[in-house]
Symmetry: C2
Subunit: 227 residues, 2 copies
DNA sequence: TTACTTTTGTGTAAAATATACACATAATGC
DNA sequence: GCATTATGTGTATATTTTACACAAAAGTAA
């Protein structure tokens, strides 16, 4: 029984970056005929012989040149039969993070129609991309409390105050500096470097590093991150 | 730019039922040419104009007659380009639960090639269905502790000892009866009925009911289930 | 060089939550 | 009525979470 289907399969990525103490999303300006010149998530159609994650990375490279530090599958959108006006498209959405020190700010120029948008100043998006983006935001916020995923948004070495600020910004609730530090340090996957960093004024602060190996070791022992 | 793709899209469902104090999965014996007569998850190809969840429910009805009490999207499998020997197939996997009182035990007969298998006595499965099943098991176990999903596996009215047994079986760790009861009751979504149920011997026990409305009310107030 | 501002770094007491634990009650079967 | 089986319940202890304030190290401006 040979099957004929008239459904296309695409991938879309919600890529988050953290800069200027604010969460940003990577968007591209569409060039195709549908939703021409509207902002959209990075994505495109999957090639016949291409694994899904490869497709995501390829589109990301082609459209923006960005390389991810974290990537996970989010959800497959396709219940709304006409999300794409051309024909039925099912989109496997991914959710990615990029290390703050790797972010090269890109703007909306003729050459490169890609831009980092602060999540609180988003433009209207093509297709059902707003819905996808919101799912990704929910997922990010939820994961922050039970997976040490926030470190993928920071540079390799960071201040405790930066980590704290990130949590405050993304979760929108206050943090007690002493309790937060105690809690985070108690897990044992943060290591103190011998480096210091100074702001314009104030006491210089130690830089810390997230030790991924150590984290996985703890995880395998059944010790789980939980804020 | 018209796109040509040679990828098929299917849905597969891992359906769990709880009977004889054991977790079971619904499997069907394949009739098609590939993996003929092997056991597989319920599933099939998505119709062009059909939402994904509709496809799952349709296949489930067609192949087994079973109706679900809980359904959620699990994961989309498609990175392994040749999971299906015929052509590339991307499968959106779902994870479903069925209320214990609705389970009609079905066996492997000529008429109905479907069967409830205890999860600890599973046969080899077609395609990559073992992998899918394991993901679903992981998800079920994880969710049990932060969503009151276990109630969807029990009959509408159940004994506390049955709920306790379910958690013991699925999570594989001991429970202190007194503390467990205190904890569960403290959430306030379980209601005591005036009904009793007796086993062969021993003191008769009260039947309880899960109040879904109450649960959602609590959830909306920011009170979350957590064991 | 002094005093003012900014940011980091740290401990302890009180409150809330989780854990450990044992015996009386209500039924059945012999 | 006695043995067996399963339900139902409270309290004390340990652990975890929360609340909270002041000294240290730098820069800046008078």
């Amino acid at each position: 029984m040979p099957i004929r289907q008239n459904i296309l399969i695409a991938v879309d990525a919600v890529v988050f970056g953290y800069m200027n103490a604010n969460l940003h999303v990577l968007l591209v300006k569409r060039k195709g005929s549908t939703f021409h010149k509207e902002w959209a998530l990075v994505g495109g159609f999957v090639l016949d012989d291409e694994p899904l994650t490869t497709a995501v990375k390829r589109e990301l490279k082609e459209e923006t040149g960005v390389q991810l530090d974290y990537l996970e599958q989010l959800f497959t959108f396709g219940d709304t039969v006409d999300r794409d006006p051309r024909s039925r498209v099912i989109s496997v959405a991914y959710f990615g993070l990029i290390n703050s020190s790797k972010i090269v700010p890109i703007g909306d120029t003729d050459a490169m129609d890609a831009k980092w948008y602060p999540v609180n100043e988003l433009p209207d998006l093509a297709f059902d991309h707003s819905e996808i983006l919101n799912s990704a935001l929910d997922r990010l916020r939820a994961k922050l409390t039970y997976q040490p995923i926030g470190f993928d948004l920071l540079p390799n070495e960071f201040l405790f105050s930066e980590l704290e600020q990130l949590y405050v910004t993304l979760l929108g609730k206050d943090i007690d500096r002493r309790n937060f530090r105690k809690k985070i340090m108690s897990f044992g996957f943060l290591e103190e470097t011998s480096l210091f960093k100074q702001k314009k004024s104030g006491r210089p602060a130690k830089l810390f590093r997230f030790n991924d190996l150590k984290y996985r070791e703890l995880e395998s022992k059944g010790i789980y991150f939980d804020l």
